[in-house]
Subunit: 336 residues, 2 copies
């Protein structure tokens, strides 16, 4: 068997306060376990680095918090190296909750829908199944379904150069919306407008960004796809039109510090806004439908993506922190 | 003509800070104006006292703020005393934005849908057209449509002994929900459970009210019909079930002091809540449909109501303040 008998894995040693500190995640070596019937052993090739990982480390949410001493939860792309399950064979590619480790024993029958076999597509990177055809694409797809975009409406998306936000904006363009992105560097803003076709992109680190945002939405905002929360969200809400929709996808500004809340809740009432929180896992029964559509859009160039790849499992904790400093553009991935 | 030539009216003299202070509204006497063709002169009999009046005095919202020096806006029930409109005659009853005054000149063709002719129904008080068959009933009806109640779900309504809240709870019972009201006195709570059929009612002025509320919703909260905001709302949100709905009807706790905002916006995301603000005026094209249903419910005793009547136009400013101290049970009305 061409498999190492030693598995390197990150276990959660302490719950982070603010950014992830050295020692919150500890790299340990454990033996690769023996397979049982119905299980597969997979070698993790790529890890998807997502803001929600910071939540999993800290507290119970839509999933229970990772227990202290447990392997850190994470979504990954893996190749099967040994199988005792009739439907999976060595060499198959799968995605699922692999955890932050080199090898994982998975039980396909128990792990659905988060355990998925994925095809090998010529000229397409395997990592597409973590981003555009993975959690981010699905999140953008179902979030935009909640948003109910209509032609000519104005969509503002925050964290627009992130893996989800960049797809959200492109879906908005497919629906004929005016799309304005909010991001944290001029380079990201250029990518959004020059490469992805956003109508405007605002760098929220410029001192006059609020005036620029207001100028970029001359007819107000009909849809706010919110990934950030805090001051960014409060500013966009001030520009919303009557009967606007706020799709609450993430509140990343509150994950490493106290939740700033919503300054003026009364705005929701006076403007008759609909605010809806959602978690992509609730749409598991429709993943195939969404994946088919996203794949088509990607194939025809309607959705473009970019990746920031960090090499080495040991860099995973730093990679998670990169999300909160805005160091990545597009999908952030750790290559093991 | 059996009409006084002098009209007493409240004009807005200064915008209130906190409660309405003496002098914010000033009682003045002006001549009753001459009628033009297409107009009617109506004598105001009853004024509907609503929390939204405090907003109209202070700031632009879903309607522009009342201008300084202008007659204070208000919804009322009036009897036509002179008509130069072919469809209206002396003695007809109407409701509409009469303002806080004894006489009002109205232009039926311009005032729709807020100007409505109402029938005279034997054994039914005229004031029903301000409450159960007026703004409050309509607000409860369309708000509960947004809530999409299902049999067996749990509904929590705040300001439950108010004109809107009390109807909301009864509509919840019609839909087969478990209904829990939040109110500010034991007497109000008794009214809700003994007379209106609420399953439980919690007095939020008791020190242990949060524990009692939690005990009253053993299966969590599916619908929060929110009239109050602030600490009451934040407490209910903490008890919401996944995919719960928050109907944002009013935020009265924030009208006389600073908007306390929402403590944990992340709750909306993690619990996948839908929060929707609404204003009943948006449903004007369906007022007849709703009124017919509400009238039927009232006739068959499915909806009961109670009124608190304050006598004398000069008491109107104090009456508005009563809403914010919780001094009224059911519909608050000023009888002129």
């Amino acid at each position: 068997m061409n498999v190492s008998t030693i598995n390197r894995q990150f276990i959660l040693q302490s719950r982070p306060k603010g950014f992830i500190a050295p020692g919150d995640l500890k790299l340990v070596e454990t033996p690769v376990p023996e397979l049982q019937d119905g299980q597969v052993l997979a070698q993790v090739k790529y890890l998807s680095i997502d803001p929600t990982m910071r939540i999993w480390m800290a507290m119970d949410s839509y999933l229970p918090a990772v227990a202290i001493g447990e392997v850190m939860r994470g979504f990954g792309f893996a190749e099967i190296v040994e199988s005792r399950h009739p439907e999976y064979k060595k060499g198959d590619h799968v995605t699922g909750l692999t955890g932050l480790q080199e090898y994982v024993v998975m039980s396909p029958n128990n792990g659905r829908p988060l355990f998925q076999k994925v095809p090998k597509i010529p000229f397409v990177s395997d990592t597409v199944f973590l981003g555009t055809l993975g959690v981010n694409g699905l999140t953008a797809f179902f979030g935009m379904e909640i948003a109910q975009p209509k032609k000519g409406e104005t969509l503002v998306v925050s964290a627009a150069a992130g893996a989800t936000g960049s797809i959200v904006g492109q879906i908005g363009k497919i629906h004929g919306c005016r799309v304005v992105g909010i991001a944290g560097t001029d380079e990201k803003c250029n990518w959004l407008t020059k490469d992805l076709g956003f109508d405007a992109a605002i760098n929220y680190k410029h001192p006059d960004w609020k005036a620029k945002l207001a100028a970029a939405v001359p007819h107000g905002v009909d849809i706010n796809f919110e990934n950030v929360g805090g001051e960014v969200m409060n500013t966009v809400l001030g520009l919303m039109n009557l009967h606007g929709r706020v799709v609450l996808c993430g509140l990343i500004s509150g994950y490493t510090k106290e939740d700033p809340g919503l300054a003026s809740f009364g705005t929701l009432l006076v403007k008759r806004l609909r605010v809806e929180g959602f978690i992509v896992l609730d749409y598991a029964s429709r993943f195939m439908e969404a994946g088919t559509q996203l794949g088509q859009w990607k194939m025809f160039g309607k959705i473009k993506d970019r990746e920031t790849i960090v090499k080495g499992l040991e860099k995973a904790p730093d990679a998670i922190n990169m999300l909160f400093t805005g160091a990545n553009t597009g999908k952030l991935i750790v290559k093991i």
